[in-house]
Point group: C2
Chain length 203, copies 2
DNA sequence: CGCACATGTTGACGTTGTCAACATATTGCA
DNA sequence: TGCAATATGTTGACAACGTCAACATGTGCG
């Protein structure tokens, strides 16, 4: 667990992930190089190959941590409001947006397409599914409470996911820097848009 | 306009853009290298520097063509249904999704975050704004027809944009490969989700 | 103890983005 | 027309990068 000697690092795997995430959030995906990551972790430029098949595998592992965070945030919503599906939904929206804005480059890595589907690891796919399943559960709870429209659970969940995801992407990628800058505005926007999404746009 | 000699290409600028777009759609952003683009266009590996400041400038120009397509698609919706704001909105949704699925890698370049805001050219920003303005117009038409809820135009437009954008991103990035594969399914999903978005999720 | 294995290093290779220096064509002006 | 300024394209170089092969060093198990 701890550093065992000068030669063997002891926990290089996690040290590399940490170094990579730091580099990622500071410089963006393009600014992450295996050699720089290795240097930051204090090892030679090929040491990472003992822990990751190649650069994409490191990035995929980084993206996976993002999906884990997301999945856990979704599951927390159900735990925090066991009796109130609408609150679950509201909290989920805010959590999603907050994660995207709090870790813009990780989000970008998760959804930005630098990692092609071929690069996805099994674990990444599993955690990604877990996140969507979390949202599905929230929608299902809403349906069981009888307050949702009669549509397939998957479709409602996909609609909500699309909306929250789209807003998060636009936000964290800087496309809304004129519309919404500070967190307060963003929170207000999420509430307002969430309200419209639930109530509808037509009179 | 045409090729003028063996030495001078005549229209390298556009030839480079075409070569780059072909490479982009075939291999993804990661597969685009300036040298390969130059080779495809039949010039030396530094010739592109006479037409683009650096690699990001080439990519930004490529992204700009995507925004132009998007803006024109939005504007076409208003032209095609001058008297029917709801049809404008429906067509806009389908057009957005179709563009995203038809040119997944260009879409990825536009929104995927490989290009950081610092790399955005003035023209890119202009065309990006034009696209959003097109959507704003469609929403404004809906409001003037009196059928939309009483909310700020910007907020409604942002809600619609987020939803359509989010779905397109998830789709073109392969996150929905289980949910929606063929175009027919996607069209149906867009209609269904569009309906819910307009009518609302709550009973 | 000794050996298999995991982990880390060194050095090399081809590719990439970019720069400086140079070559060649085009254009505008006398 | 002719020449000079400029636009456009080329060659060669460099450092940084991802990756591989060969080697070194430490760990843990019999």
């Amino acid at each position: 667990m701890a550093k065992t000697s000068g030669y063997h690092h002891g926990d290089l795997h996690n040290a590399l992930l940490a170094a990579a995430e730091a580099l990622l959030e500071k410089q963006g995906v393009g600014g992450v190089s295996l050699r720089e990551v290795a240097k930051t972790a204090g090892v030679s430029h090929t040491a990472p190959y003992r822990h990751f098949k190649d650069k994409n595998a490191l990035l995929a592992a980084l993206a996976t941590t993002g999906y884990v965070r997301l999945a856990e945030a979704m599951e927390a919503c159900v735990r925090d409001h066991p009796e109130d599906p609408l609150q679950q939904m509201s909290q989920a929206s805010h959590a999603y947006v907050e994660l995207a804005i709090g870790h813009p480059q990780v989000t970008n890595l998760m959804f930005g397409g630098v990692l092609q589907p071929a690069d996805w690891s099994d674990e990444l796919g599993k955690e990604s599914n877990r996140a969507f399943e979390g949202l599905l559960t929230i929608v299902r709870n809403g349906q069981e409470s009888g307050r949702y429209v009669d549509k397939e659970t998957r479709e409602i969940a996909l609609l909500v996911w699309s909306t929250v995801h789209g807003f998060s992407m636009l936000c964290s990628a800087g496309h809304l820097h004129e519309v919404a800058e500070d967190p307060r505005q963003i929170t207000a926007l999420v509430d307002s848009m969430g309200g419209m999404l639930m109530q509808g746009i037509l009179k």
